[in-house]
Amino acid sequence: MSAQTLYDKLWHSHVIRSEPDGTALIYIDRHLVHEVTSPQAFEGLRLNNRPVWRVSSILATQDHNVPTTAVKEIADPVSRLQVSTLDANCKSYGITEFAMGDPRQGIVHVIGPEQGATLPGMTVVCGDSHTSTHGAFAALAMGIGTSEVEHVLATQCLLSKKAKSMLVRVEGSLRPGVTAKDIALAVIGEIGTAGGTGYAIEFGGSGIRALSMEGRMTLCNMAIEAGARNGMVAADETTIAYLKGRPYAPTAQQWDAAVAVWNTLHSDEGAHFDRVVEIAADSIEPQVTWGTSPEMVTTVGGAVPDPSQESDATRRHGIEKALAYMGLKANTPITEIEIDKVFIGSCTNSRIEDLRAAADVVKGRKVSSRVKLAMVVPGSGLVKAAAEREGLDRVFTEAGFEWRNPGCSMCLGMNDDRLEPGERCASTSNRNFEGRQGTGGRTHLVSPAMAAAAAIAGHFIDIRNL
């Protein structure tokens, strides 16, 4: 057999049948469920009298609507109904759910890997675009819509067509202060938010192999921000070491058999990719977005672009609209942009390594007096507990940060955590769209260390100069 990409291997091992036009029925190993995109799917099952195909493939949690303050009940009745609807659906079908108050509850893309519920070689779906995160484990992971959630619940399959393949190769070592988040933003800056449309992206090269699982998850998480439904990284020793001993991971002889399979989950030497993007790791600088799309990004040493320098009319128009929304003037140095709020959290950057990186910056310092709110929202109850065992909560609170309970929080503000109109935020989340963090709110995407540094300085600052 000719050389295969990792994506080829994952795809072909899950195809049950194909239509003449290439539309395939692919088998789904793991289905992660949260409260926002599932109620209509369960309702559809009920209306058609259909059972859930394989209940044990599903793991559910509450994340988007949950409060991050120490309240027991959600105040907003609409949010509360959505969360209680998930409870009722999980109870009625016998689905495992980590509900509010369960120490394992958290952001769906944090808890799946944390539980070992995401394993190499799996297909993983969730009604959430950031499902690409799970590709960090050499899994074929993709976000789906609610009709597809219902389809997977009812059939354990997804109708899909094979995508083209792209290799993003990052060779060399990252410079100090540069993280997986900066790689992700630099890649999006390079190929654009539609650059990965129609592709499955594999991240490879020595710069990727050197990343921890947390870093790989950050990178694959943002593959969707480059337009790609899937991001993935080959399985290696780092993957295997991360999984050992996790609640859903195999044990004993099954562990050895699994590892033997996982060791084959990489692209073969000479495998063909439809597109290859090469980036030297040591060329990547800390990134800061300035606009309303993740591709509107520059380095911390850069400046807000000048639309008059853009020759393409649609792009110029886009930059003008973005600057008006963001309240920024052309050519302003990034380090002169002052901020009102800081959000450290989200499925992109709320894992223990992210909190450690931010705490390292914060330790012994104080949040700037011009910052109205600086908050840390751990990705799960288990991340929160681990951080507290290391004393990170005290590092943050002594500096003036709020230390919150797990959830999606101000990444999208479906709970009470959001920006007020005109407020500017240094955020470790994934989307700087208009209104994403609150109507009229202005988001700048950065790494956890850069967000922490901005909280201390009151404006963006090169982490390497702090």
């Binding site: 959505q82 539980q115 819509g145 337009g227 859903y248 886009g318």
Partner: protein, 216 residues
Amino acid sequence: MQKFITHQGLVAPMDRANVDTDAIIPKQFLKSIQRSGFGPNLFDAWRYLDEGQPGQDNSGRPLNPDFVLNHARYQGASILIARENFGCGSSREHAPWALEDYGFRAIIAPSFADIFHSNAYKNGLLPITLPADCVDELLHITASQEGFRLTIDLSQQKVTTPDGRAFAFEIDGFRKYCLMEGLDDIGLTLRYAEEIKNFEASRRVAQPWLYVESAR
């Protein structure tokens, strides 16, 4: 699912790239556990001058006079034309639900984000990809000719202007078939239940660790 065979309708222009699903239907409306009723909140933050809330009566809210869908000439539009990467971002199917509930039957753009593209089909909303120069031209015609309408013929895979100019588009055979017949994907897939069961059974033997019943 609503069938799509042919459609003739008024065209509205949305002259911007990267229209994301957060803009199509903002987060606060995702709290609904219903599948319908999102139309009045389509493009909510652009369409109204105040901040909308779920369950609110939208009839008395102040409209943004600059927003294109609020212009009198585009009332009743059922075809939307936009620029590159329409529907990027969040996987929320509430986006096609809102577009469809508002009255759109088709979106024409040079490119669509992958998840939005498949979500649209599942709801009988036809995403039509045309070359960027054709879209540019259609955007200009839509802006300059009041009442500009297009005819979409799915079986012929053609978009036709009133003066008879036709633009051909591509669509996967399987999706075309499902749309023209108004078929339910799940019903179709369950015809292959035996094949799925067989696949699952052999996978369970080969990789039993994928089938743990619960956490240890």
